[in-house]
């Protein structure tokens, strides 16, 4: 009898602790200043919305806000796959005031993106029907594990970042180093590669473009810069652009080879802070960020 009691006590304590811990961590997630917490809390009011994978982090918000005087939001995350980006953007548009321009880095359309990243967003599942559906469809085991053990929902880098940005802004999230000489040499040795995009990804992107357009948001599709010797290794960039243009009816603005100085790169796929500023100046000059023209909305780029 005594032994049975302690087994029940373990299970009860484990359950209660899990629920209590889950509640506290859920509160942290909700109250955080991290981009997705702000997204799901609602009430964000920005003119410019950005999305992409880690390469989308170069939409350096403090600089854009300083230059344009317009509030910005960025939904980019390392390895962001297109299906997850689509969910986040749609949720953003449903819960926050509509931005005037949505800028998307289309290099998310690649199978090599981290499809498991969706599981990292388990901590936001209680806030979003769409996210919940995506997780249940793609990673049912993680979804159900999160239902059984609430602590499991917060078992991810995404939650760690939400915790880290609990009281501070995440707008400064950008590489601040210069590509090393070894890495520069390493690029030369790399083989040519292709983007591996699928019809599903194209449909997902087209869905986002339509959804945003219906809500009066102008959409700009861009290819952010690569370290030039690396950009030369991409075999099918024209094919990717063409497929996207056919699927969305929008022009893809190709900046893949637009920054030449080594000093502007943190590694061969990412600009650093200096490079990001140089690139953003170009986007502003070209009117992609809507500075040189009317920000009336509704049109497509």
């Amino acid at each position: 009898m005594k032994n049975t009691i302690w087994v029940i006590a373990v299970l009860l304590l484990a359950f209660l602790g899990d629920r209590a811990g889950g509640y506290v961590l859920g509160k942290i997630t909700h109250d955080s200043q991290f981009r997705y917490s702000r997204l799901y809390r609602g009430g964000e009011n920005c003119d410019l919305l950005f999305a992409g994978n880690s390469r989308g982090l170069i939409f350096y918000q403090p600089y854009i806000e300083e230059k344009t005087g317009r509030p910005t939001c960025n939904l980019s995350y390392n390895g962001m796959p297109m299906d997850l980006a689509a969910v986040l953007i749609k949720d953003f548009l449903d819960r926050n005031s509509h931005p005037r321009i949505l800028v998307l880095d289309v290099t998310m359309l690649d199978k090599r993106m981290d499809s498991r990243l969706v599981t990292g967003f388990n901590c936001y599942v209680p806030f979003s029907e769409r996210l919940s559906d995506l997780m249940r469809d793609s990673f049912a085991n993680d979804f159900f594990a999160g239902q059984v053990a609430h602590l499991y929902r917060y078992n991810s880098e995404v939650f760690q970042r939400a915790f880290y940005y609990l009281k501070k802004s995440d707008e400064d999230w950008l590489l601040d180093r210069v590509i090393s000489p070894t890495l520069q040499k390493e690029v030369e040795k790399q083989a040519e590669f292709d983007y591996e995009f699928t019809p599903d990804m194209l449909a997902s992107l087209a869905g986002v473009v339509n959804y945003a357009t219906q809500k009066g948001v102008r959409v700009a599709l861009v290819v952010n810069p690569y370290y030039p010797p690396f950009a030369e290794k991409i075999g099918n960039l024209p094919a990717l652009k063409k497929a996207i243009e056919q699927a969305t009816g929008l022009t893809v603005h190709d900046y893949s080879n637009s920054i030449s100085g080594v000093e502007g790169f943190g590694d061969y796929q990412h600009l650093n802070k200096n490079g990001a500023k140089e690139y953003l100046d170009k986007l502003m000059e070209d009117g992609i960020l809507g500075v040189s023209e009317d920000l009336g909305g509704g049109d497509r780029f």
Binding site: L13, D18, G21, N141, N155, R161
Partner: protein, 487 residues
């Protein structure tokens, strides 16, 4: 639940899988309901199901190995003539090592032979075979061999019951990744039925939970960072490689010792006592001590069945060095069919020899410097850990090119700074988990947590619940296989 999901869930039979959870839930109640031969049959059936879940074809191999060693053991037990006994032990060696050699090393030696001929300008057309490596073959082969060798040495009576012997070879808790339990330790434990025992259940469960925490929370959390760095070492800055090397040392420790803990824990619940397989190896102050603390069941196997028969410490210093080196080289090769494993063994052989050659002078130097004891201990532990990490680089690398890249990048110290760390969140989590591990292991030296779990019901309830929370919060799930399964 859709069939697709069921297929996914029940794909693998490993400790950190749903398949295993279902297996244990079905196995344990019936096991304790049965007695005598019925229980043995149930254990054998469960073990064969556990193993056959990987690939039913593996069962043929383990069954042949079991039948032949059982028969040879019996014959040896009935035979007095030394010549015939020698004959029989050779047959056992040839069969066991033949299986191991063919399934694990055939392609390796063929490739190496072809490369060697190509080095002489020849171009032979020798083809390798498409051979599946049976999971855990190295473990059960060594376990089975220990039986025939002990019977040959007259240190163990031949086991008359085929059922007991087959269960000994295939016992599921330690079948695929050890610990390698000697027949002389294990077979006598089949003599009596083990009734359900709450004390064994609590201490076994504690060890199982601790093992799970080490595997799914620590090892599998460190793995992605390590894998990324090793995949393309030159693409990452030096500081990342340093972190990856430190992480790998703990990844492999937690992965392997985690498996051992789970195996030992389940065996204890079932009524069997297995020897410990790891004893805080990274606190070793010299390499002999390291090998008394790391994969103890293998190192003691190699000592008793290889090093000592080779001559051990007898025959002068040179012979001892040779025996040390041969044992470590073969120990390296046991791990896998790759020259990097052999080189890993070579490095450890070298460390053991260097320790014997320089250990005394180093000790004298420490004494002359009047370092306090704790500092000397710290220096010794750090040195052993650092050299162990150096060897792990070769163990982890698929080839010497990658190992060279890792080392070149490590010693280059290019961009060795905080901002160059690739993913600070994963790194912080990794170091937090390592700190937790070390805190428990260091405190365990004084407190003996296992004893506290037994004595204090309150602590037991709290510690089990905390471990479950930690596993849920830090665990990486998705049925990541254990590293040592490949060996």
């Amino acid at each position: 639940m859709p069939a697709r999901l069921l297929a996914y869930y029940f794909e693998k039979m490993i400790f950190n899988s749903l398949t295993f959870l279902v297996f244990v839930a079905a196995f344990l109640p019936v096991y304790f309901m049965l007695k005598g031969r019925a229980r043995l049959w149930w254990s054998l059936a469960g073990s064969y199901l556990f193993y056959g879940w990987w690939d039913w074809r593996f069962l043929t191999l383990i069954a042949i190995s079991t039948l032949v060693d059982y028969y040879l053991g019996l014959r040896m037990g009935q035979t007095e003539g030394e010549k015939e006994r020698k004959h029989l032990i050779w047959m056992s060696m040839v069969l066991n090592l033949g299986f191991l050699g063919f399934f694990k090393y055939f392609n390796f030696f063929t490739d190496s032979f072809v490369s060697m001929l190509q080095g002489f300008g020849l171009n032979p057309s020798i083809h390798t075979l498409n051979i599946i490596l049976p999971v855990g073959i190295s473990f059960y082969t060594f376990q089975s061999m220990s039986y025939t060798i002990d019977v040959y040495r007259r240190q163990l009576e031949a086991e008359p019951s085929l059922l007991k012997f087959a269960t000994f070879v295939a016992f599921w808790p330690q079948l695929v990744a050890g610990p390698i339990v000697r027949a002389s330790d294990f077979l006598p434990q089949f003599q009596k039925d083990h009734d359900w025992d709450w004390n064994r259940f609590t201490s076994g469960t504690a060890q199982v939970l601790w093992g799970f925490f080490k595997k799914v929370a620590i090892a599998d959390s460190l793995a992605p960072f390590v894998d990324q760095c090793w995949h393309e070492p030159m693409a990452f800055t030096s500081v990342n490689l340093w972190i990856a090397v430190i992480f790998y040392a703990f990844q492999i420790y937690c992965d392997f010792s985690g498996y051992s803990d789970i195996a030992i824990g389940f065996a204890r619940i079932l009524g069997f006592d297995f020897p410990e397989n790891f004893r805080t190896p990274y606190f070793s102050q010299n390499f002999s001590e390291f090998w008394r603390r790391w994969h103890i069941s293998l190192s003691s196997w190699l000592r008793d069945y290889l090093y000592i028969p080779l001559g051990g410490n007898r025959g002068g210093k040179l012979m001892m060095y040779r025996n040390n080196m041969l044992t470590m080289l073969l120990g390296g090769l046991w791990h896998g069919a790759n020259w990097t494993f052999v080189f890993w063994g070579f490095l450890h052989g070298l460390y053991l020899i260097a320790q014997r050659l320089l250990g005394k002078s180093f000790g004298n130097l420490m004494r002359q410097l009047y370092f306090p004891a704790f500092l000397k201990t710290g220096i010794n532990i750090t040195l052993v850990y650092a050299f162990t990490c150096l060897a792990w680089i070769f163990f982890r690398s698929p080839n010497f090119g990658i190992a060279t890249d890792v080392i070149t990048n490590l010693v280059g110290f290019e961009n060795f700074n905080y901002v160059s760390i690739m993913n600070k969140f994963i790194v912080m989590k990794g170091f937090l988990l390592i700190t937790m591990l070390l805190a428990v292991e260091i405190s365990d030296l004084k407190i003996q947590w296992g004893g506290v779990v037994q004595r204090s019901p309150l602590f037991r309830v709290a510690s089990f619940a905390v471990l479950l929370w930690l596993i849920a919060f830090f665990g990486t799930f998705g049925s990541n296989a254990f590293i040592y399964f490949q060996f």
